[in-house]
């Protein structure tokens, strides 16, 4: 019993170490953080302006509601991007710096390593997307008078578990393909969001795409968060989105860990777990 408690304590310290290192890196790359934030704001504005554009060219729509809906889509897209990017850096950044061998020979459980990266991704992602949401909402004068922000945050937190699980699967890709693996992570992000109704309702897609949408956690996150922010729905009202997210979260983390472990084993057998090549 005492040995188990000690082992848990040591792994807890290691998990904090992973989060702490990422925080150091954000601090040391402060200028770049600002530059990327400006880019994300610009990117989000170009999407959110679409509603105003349709209105200006004679289309009929509730401009304020559509603007808000597009903003939610763009913010979730940005959040997912941060989570995937951070998880992918588990291998990609360490490989680039040459530290990968030291980190992977350290006595921290791989699950703790990946969950540490996931925890940082969620913390950092929430802060950055909250800032993005506030800046763009302010720009368009969006007020969200009925919004239940607490319910939206709960949905985002639950969805994050699934996002981290999927991110773990993509995190192994740079180990298997050092040259192209990181880019494959972006492809996975794109595939997930194209079927999840990021800027349009899921039911406008062909049937086969709607079928895929049912296994994407982003589908439920987007639908539920839009309901809480635009209609003031509470947690009880979005149970239909919450339970699939809980289920997908329960599946995706063990699945992500299993895929990462299998990839790590492949890399260790074939000599790919090293700083180059």
């Amino acid at each position: 019993m005492r040995a188990t408690v000690e082992a848990v304590r040591l792994q807890g310290i290691a998990l904090v170490g992973v989060v702490e290192r990422n925080a150091y890196l954000v601090k040391r790359y402060g200028f770049w953080e600002l530059a990327f934030f400006a880019w994300t704001v610009a990117n989000t504005l170009t999407v959110v302006f679409i509603a105003k554009g349709i209105d200006a060219t004679g289309g009929t729509l509730d401009v304020e509601r559509e603007t808000a809906s597009l903003l939610i889509g763009a913010v979730i897209w940005s959040y997912l991007g941060i989570v995937f990017e951070t998880l992918t850096e588990t291998v990609a950044w360490e490989r680039w710096e040459g530290t990968i061998e030291y980190t992977f020979m350290a006595p921290l459980a791989r699950s703790v390593h990946l969950l540490g990266m996931g925890a940082f991704a969620v913390l950092y992602g929430v802060l950055r997307t909250a800032a993005l949401f506030a800046v763009v909402a302010l720009f368009f004068g969006l007020a969200f008078p009925n919004a239940d922000f607490a319910a939206a945050l709960v949905l985002l937190a639950v969805a994050s578990v699934s996002f981290v699980g999927v991110g773990m699967v993509t995190a192994i890709l740079p180990l298997i393909s050092p040259e192209k693996g990181a880019q494959l992570g972006f492809i996975a992000q794109g595939m997930l969001l194209v079927v999840s109704g990021v800027y349009y309702p899921v039911d406008v897609m062909p049937g086969w795409m709607q079928a895929i949408a049912t296994i994407s956690p982003a589908t439920y996150a987007l639908h539920g968060i839009r309901a809480t922010l635009l209609n003031g729905a509470g947690l009880g009202d979005v149970w239909g989105d919450l339970w699939p997210l809980l289920l997908l979260g329960a599946i995706s983390i063990p699945l992500g860990l299993a895929v990462f472990r299998a990839g790590e084993r492949y890399a260790k057998r074939n000599g790919k777990l090293k700083r180059s090549g």
Binding site: I13, A14, L25, K274, G277
Partner: protein
């Protein structure tokens, strides 16, 4: 119980030859032991299998055959236990370049269960012990000289109190003064902590100065492992360099083909 016990270790990699793929032996039936507190040096050319051996012992590479135990723990089945006992210093210092020495060391320390209070106390002590100036501890690693970076690499290894230290060409590329300082530090570390050491090197003088026994690794095969004097006697040579030439037919500086290909 030995610190390291390697029996019949084999590892092959697949190499592409045009459209064909062929298996190339990186380690071929390597067997040796390292006693507790002993330093063993392995001499070999680039591509002889030295780094492969270090990476198997570091649990970064799965071997194909034979067995490898570190303080009685199997490197595959008891990976986590082995990782607690081992650390390494390689030819490349390998750090997050924008982070400071202190931040990089804190990151490494957490993985070995060291909390913030202990790190705040031990990092300055350890940096001082390797002769790293305190005023540079907040500078990004990319602003430090190669010799300074290698001192931080030694501090990182020492911070985790390894009982087995793997040194993979730790002084290659260093200026003579830095080289001497690093070698002196390794000596002090061994005498103070009874750390067992595997030193892979090109440098015959370094091998003879630091190690009790010296091995010659060539084409993945361990041709000899004995005291430097016994190795010289065995090959009728006056220097280790001549002994290496007699054993392998090549000078140590010659490269052989890379042993690792995906």
């Amino acid at each position: 119980m030995s610190a390291v016990e390697v029996v019949g270790l084999t590892k092959q990699f697949t190499r592409r030859q045009g459209r064909r793929r062929e298996r190339v032996a990186a380690l071929d039936g390597v067997s040796f032991t390292i006693a507790r507190g002993e330093c063993v040096a392995i001499l070999g050319q680039n591509g002889s299998g030295k780094s492969t051996l270090v990476r198997v012992l570091s649990t970064l590479l799965l071997h194909d055959g034979g067995s490898v135990r570190v303080y009685g723990h199997d490197v595959v089945r008891e990976e986590r236990a082995v990782r607690r006992l081992v650390n390494r210093v390689s030819v490349e210092a390998s750090f997050f370049k924008r982070l400071s020495a202190g931040e990089n060391l804190a990151y490494a320390a957490r993985f070995y269960g060291m909390g913030p209070a202990e790190t705040r106390r031990r990092i300055p002590e350890i940096l001082a012990s390797v002769g790293f100036p305190a005023k540079r501890s907040k500078a990004p690693m990319e602003d430090l000289s190669r010799g300074m970076q290698q001192k931080v690499a030694l501090a990182r290894a020492l911070l985790t109190s390894p009982t087995l230290l793997l040194l993979d060409e730790p002084t290659t590329g260093l200026d003579p003064r830095s080289k001497r300082e690093v070698q002196e530090f390794i000596r002090r570390l061994r005498s103070a902590h009874e750390t067992s050491t595997l030193l892979c090197t090109h440098d015959m003088v370094e091998a003879e100065a630091l190690a009790a026994r010296v091995g010659i690794l060539d084409g993945g095969r361990l041709l000899a492992l004995d005291t430097p004097a016994a190795i010289r006697r065995r090959y009728g040579a006056t220097t280790l360099e001549d002994a290496f030439l007699a054993a392998t037919g090549r000078a140590l500086e010659d490269d052989v083909e890379e042993e690792e290909a995906a």
